[in-house]
């Protein structure tokens, strides 16, 4: 446990300490992905944790690695104007838990082996970090973390992709449908039901 916290600290230090360049951005993106995977795997694979503690740790790992403002802006799009300030605040509050739940749902099975970070490659102004997440059937699922390098906040995840399919785009479509059909309260209820 102290070792993984040390790794996170080291990775974060590396991410903030070096000047910007493509290679550096990839290095920081790799570090962010590594941190996320470490934290998330630690939370999901530790049999000694209670459900509440597991949720807390996973939410913390997601919170430290995800750029929620990007997720919020893109998930809501124009339809975000339909949310009141209060609803918007609730949305923000629920987003980390929702994404943590999404993470657990998609990658929380077959965790006997630790996910493996493989490579980083540029994706326009961002970096795609390829990870192989072991599955229950013994095979590995290739996952791409899309990481953006923010000047003030370091490298943060703005999308997760499997087989080229963007979670951000899928969830945006899903949120739009809920907002159109059920309004902001329906969306907030949906997030509450699917949140850690």
């Amino acid at each position: 446990m102290p070792l993984s916290r040390l790794a996170i600290a080291l990775a974060a230090a590396v991410a903030f300490a070096v000047p910007a360049s493509a290679d550096d951005a990839e290095t920081r993106a790799l570090a962010t992905a590594e941190t996320l995977v470490e934290g998330a795997h630690g939370a999901l694979a530790d049999p000694g944790l209670s459900d509440a503690a597991r949720a807390d740790r996973l939410r913390a790992a997601v919170s430290s690695a995800f750029a929620f403002d990007i997720w919020e802006r893109f998930l809501l799009g124009d339809r975000g104007d339909a949310l009141s300030a209060e609803q918007r605040g609730e949305f923000r509050a629920r987003l980390p838990g929702f994404l943590a739940h999404l993470y657990a749902n998609q990658f929380g099975k077959g965790l006997e082996d630790k996910p493996e970070i493989q490579e980083a490659r540029p994706a326009r102004k961002d970096t795609l970090v390829r990870a192989r997440i072991p599955r229950a059937n013994g095979k590995a699922l290739p996952v791409d973390w899309r990481v953006r390098d923010f000047e003030d906040r370091g490298a943060l995840v703005i999308d997760v992709m499997v087989g080229g399919i963007s979670f951000l785009v899928l969830k945006r479509e899903e949120f739009a449908s809920i907002l159109d059909d059920e309004g902001p309260d329906g969306l907030l209820s949906f997030m509450a039901e699917n949140s850690l």
Partner: protein, 848 residues
């Protein structure tokens, strides 16, 4: 006094021609040779813009527009229409490749095949549409990657099976896969039935419906040919014919644009000419045989007409040079009027020859008919000169040629016929004595009926308009016209648009903003408006989708499900029960049962996949664009020149369909109220309609006034002048009213009817009025027969044009028949009665 002078002069002239026939004919022969030599100077200018005075305001505006943007008017549009985007894009790409650098083609532009639009095309979509498109593509990324890696039937079935499985797992509605499944079912069905159909990936994934693509060709124009763009047209037709049959079977391709429309217009005019000509020969022969009674006399009348036409054409060559589409119709005019003198002369001679030897009959006919012939020649010629002073250049040329032609016809008839009779005296007689017509004068009821009809027609006649839209002349079934309609059905591609020239981008933007808010305006485009709007938000959407696009183009597919179906039956069993899935399952079972090899379907399934991958590869590179990034061919349509001298064009697209005159006028008036300097085809059409309508009304009134003056000077009787002109005016009203009732507006082709009606009507009126003045029973004389024969000859010669597919030509044939029948009928019904209102004079009866 005037009539006596004319009688003496004509009597002396015909006597001299009969006494010295060789000399007379030799002189005319020499003139004919000169006319033939002059024909080398004759040309035809098919540019309808030059039919109106160039200094008219709308003409100067159009000239300025054409000078600044010369390329837009003469471009050829290759229009591709298809139910699916993939074959349409494949056709455009193939044609663009073949036609780039082809002989006769200077430039090729197709937005769908242009690198700029390949890259930035997504930015031109509405934001919601873009979002939907990108979401679909994102969800299809793994499917596309799998298909790229395994372009086999098994790979295709597995990809669909996986999509089905994932949709089920994610609780995505079954309809989400309906596009792919429906398309797949259609392709399998088509393969089984040996029908052409390839899997349209872009349409199935993008959800696009019927598409219209346009490939624009800038042809090299050779105006020495009737079809200046012939080489480009042939190259385009050859390229279309050589298109991959599998692509061609799924698209409709047509050529349109000004050069093509004109070429097909000429073709449609010529198409029914043999039939019209054959019928005309039969009808004219029948009329002349009935009227003149012998082949020799028919030949004499036709020979006189031919010589008249030749000399008049020679005059046109020397006086005008290049005829236009209206003035070239002088041939119609001269057939109608040229044969008139000959028939009147021959029938009068025949009448006198029944009682007198040829020489005396010639002298008597010359004396009796002379005043009428001189008066008809002078008054008709003066009437035509009235048309020569209008801004309607086409009609002005026609008026000048007609004025000279009538005098030529008069001189030729009075020379050739006496000379021929001098050589062959037996030609003077026809069929011998003929029965007199049933009644000496028309019954009163006919007079009142004619008056009622003529006066009653005036209100409807007042509604006649001039349609200056060249599309109104063309054969609606011509391919180029139909293709033009394809474009017109898409409001954003409607061909009739206005343009405003301004001196700066800022001015263009300001004018466009002001015009765009008008209810009659759909959009006002300028160079800056071609740059996509809301780029930041759209680029963010593209940016988010970028990894998905990148994965679809180059990623390695991820197996997201196991035990996927790789045979048709296996997939058929795995599919859900939605209508689209059931349709696909049925098609797959039929395919399995057919035993056809996989290769037979694989070619169809994957033919368009590389194009989609290529398109996605380009779209993934979308980035912010400015006006400087626009393709030069596109920018050149909106900006002419560079630097401070650059001119900017604001293109104004109508909200409504402006193919109807009322809608067009409303659009032009509304835009002009905001921007008085606006120019372009709708402005020209409206301006031309107003100018021509005014010119024709003024010229017709002036023609009738001049005729009245000549007639009054000659006959010194208001009643006789009325007897000549009232029937002409009423016939004009009836003809115009009939045109309105039949939906035949005046146009550049049929407007010839008005001067012809005046010419034939005045001629008939003069002959009948003067004969009535001297004869108790005018219908027992040869004059009405001659008038009827003259009109029927013209009708027989040109009414057959009503059979033409070309609407302008057909309307000319119809209106011409109506006009001439009405003119002669009105004269027969009214002129004798009105002429008898004249006080008895002491003039000698020179007719008997």
């Amino acid at each position: 006094m005037g009539q006596e002078w004319a009688a003496t002069a004509v009597e002396a002239w015909v006597a001299r021609a009969a006494r010295h026939p060789q000399v007379a004919l030799a002189l005319l022969g020499a003139l004919a040779v000169l006319a033939v030599l002059a024909l080398t100077r004759l040309g035809i200018d098919t540019d309808s813009r030059r039919m109106l005075a160039p200094d008219l305001p709308f003409q100067t505006r159009a000239a300025a527009l054409n000078a600044a943007f010369p390329g837009t008017k003469n471009q050829i549009a290759v229009v591709v229409r298809s139910a699916r985007a993939d074959p349409a894009d494949a056709a455009v790409s193939a044609l663009a490749e073949v036609l780039s650098g082809a002989p006769g083609i200077e430039a090729v532009f197709a937005a769908s095949a242009d690198a700029y639009f390949q890259r930035a095309g997504l930015l031109y979509l509405d934001r919601r549409v873009l979002e939907d498109r990108l979401t679909r593509l994102t969800k299809s990324a793994n499917l596309l990657a799998g298909l790229r890696a395994d372009p086999t039937l098994g790979g295709f079935l597995a990809a669909l099976g996986e999509a089905e499985r994932l949709a089920e797992r994610a609780d995505i509605p079954d309809e989400a896969l309906a596009g792919l499944q429906t398309e797949a079912a259609a392709v399998f069905d088509a393969a089984l039935d040996a029908r052409p159909r390839r899997f349209a990936w872009a349409s199935a994934l993008g959800g696009s419906a019927q598409v219209l693509r346009v490939l624009t060709l800038s042809p090299t124009l050779d105006f020495s040919r009737p079809n200046p763009a012939r080489e480009a047209m042939r190259a385009a037709e050859a390229a279309i014919a050589a298109l991959d049959p599998a692509i061609a079977a799924e698209v409709e391709i047509g050529l349109t644009g000004d050069p093509i429309l004109r070429a097909e217009e000429l073709r449609s005019v010529a198409a029914t000419m043999p039939l019209s000509l054959g019928l005309s020969v039969v009808l004219v022969a029948a009329v002349l045989w009935t009227a003149l009674g012998s082949p020799a006399r028919m030949g004499l009348a036709l020979g006189t007409l031919a010589l008249t036409l030749l000399l008049t054409t020679g005059f046109a060559a020397l006086a005008i040079g290049d005829l236009n589409l209206v003035s070239v119709a002088f041939i119609v005019l001269m057939v109608g009027l040229g044969i008139d003198f000959a028939i009147h002369l021959l029938l009068h001679l025949e009448e006198d020859a029944q009682r007198l030897p040829p020489a005396e009959a010639l002298a008597r006919t010359g004396r009796a008919l002379g005043p009428a012939l001189v008066l008809t020649a002078l008054s008709t010629s003066a009437a035509f000169l009235a048309f020569a002073v209008t801004d309607f250049v086409g009609m002005a040329q026609l008026g000048l040629i007609g004025a000279a032609g009538v005098l030529i016809a008069f001189a030729v008839s009075l020379t050739v016929i006496p000379a021929a009779i001098g050589l062959r005296p037996r030609w003077i007689g026809g069929q011998g004595p003929r029965p007199a017509w049933r009644t000496p004068d028309p019954p009163r009821v006919m007079v009142w009926a004619a008056l009622a009809l003529g006066l009653g027609a005036i209100p409807l006649a007042a509604e006649m308009r001039f349609d200056a839209d060249p599309m109104g002349l063309r054969d609606p079934n011509a391919r180029s016209v139909q293709v033009q309609d394809w474009l017109a059905q898409d409001p954003d591609r409607a061909p009739l648009r206005l343009s405003l020239l301004v001196g700066s981008a800022a001015e263009a933007e300001s004018e466009a903003d002001a015009l765009a808010v008008l209810p009659e305006v759909r959009s006002a485009r300028w160079l800056g408006a071609l740059v996509p709007t809301d780029q930041a938000a759209k680029l963010e959407l593209v940016d988010i989708a970028w990894p998905s696009l990148d994965f679809a183009v180059g990623g390695e597919a991820v197996p997201l499900a196991e035990d996927l179906p790789r045979t048709p039956l296996a997939l058929a069993e795995a599919l859900s029960q939605t209508p689209a899935a059931a349709q696909l399952a049925e098609a797959l079972r039929r395919w399995e049962a057919s035993g056809l090899p996989d290769a037979a379907i694989e070619a169809r399934l994957f033919a368009y996949l590389p194009a989609l991958v290529e398109q996605l590869a380009a779209q993934r590179e979308a980035d912010e664009v400015t006006a400087e990034d626009l393709p030069p061919a596109l920018a050149a349509r909106y900006r002419s020149g560079a630097g401070p001298d650059a001119l900017y064009r604001v293109e104004i697209v109508p909200e409504a369909d402006i193919s109807t005159p009322a809608a067009r006028r409303a659009f032009v008036d509304a835009v002009r109220a905001q921007a008085p300097a606006v120019a372009g085809p709708p402005d020209q059409i409206e301006g031309a309609a107003r100018t021509v309508a005014r010119a024709m009304a003024e010229a017709s009134l002036l023609a009738l006034a001049l005729t009245a003056v000549f007639a009054f000077v000659a006959v010194r009787s208001l009643a006789l002048v009325a007897a000549i002109l009232v029937p002409v005016a009423l016939a004009g009203a009836v003809t115009l009213a009939a045109g309105v009732a039949l939906g035949l507006p005046l146009n550049y082709a049929n407007v010839i009817v008005l001067p012809l009606l005046i010419g034939i009507g005045v001629d008939t009126g003069i002959h009948l009025a003067l004969r009535t003045e001297r004869s108790a029973a005018v219908f027992a004389t040869a004059t009405p027969r001659a008038a009827a024969a003259s009109a029927l000859t013209t009708i027989g010669a040109f009414a057959t044009l009503a059979l033409s597919d070309h609407r302008g030509t057909a309307s000319m044939g119809t209106l011409l028949a109506i006009a001439l029948v009405t003119a002669v009928a009105m004269a027969f019904a009214l002129t004798p009665t009105l002429a008898r209102l004249a006080k008895p004079t002491e003039r000698p009866d020179m007719s008997r």
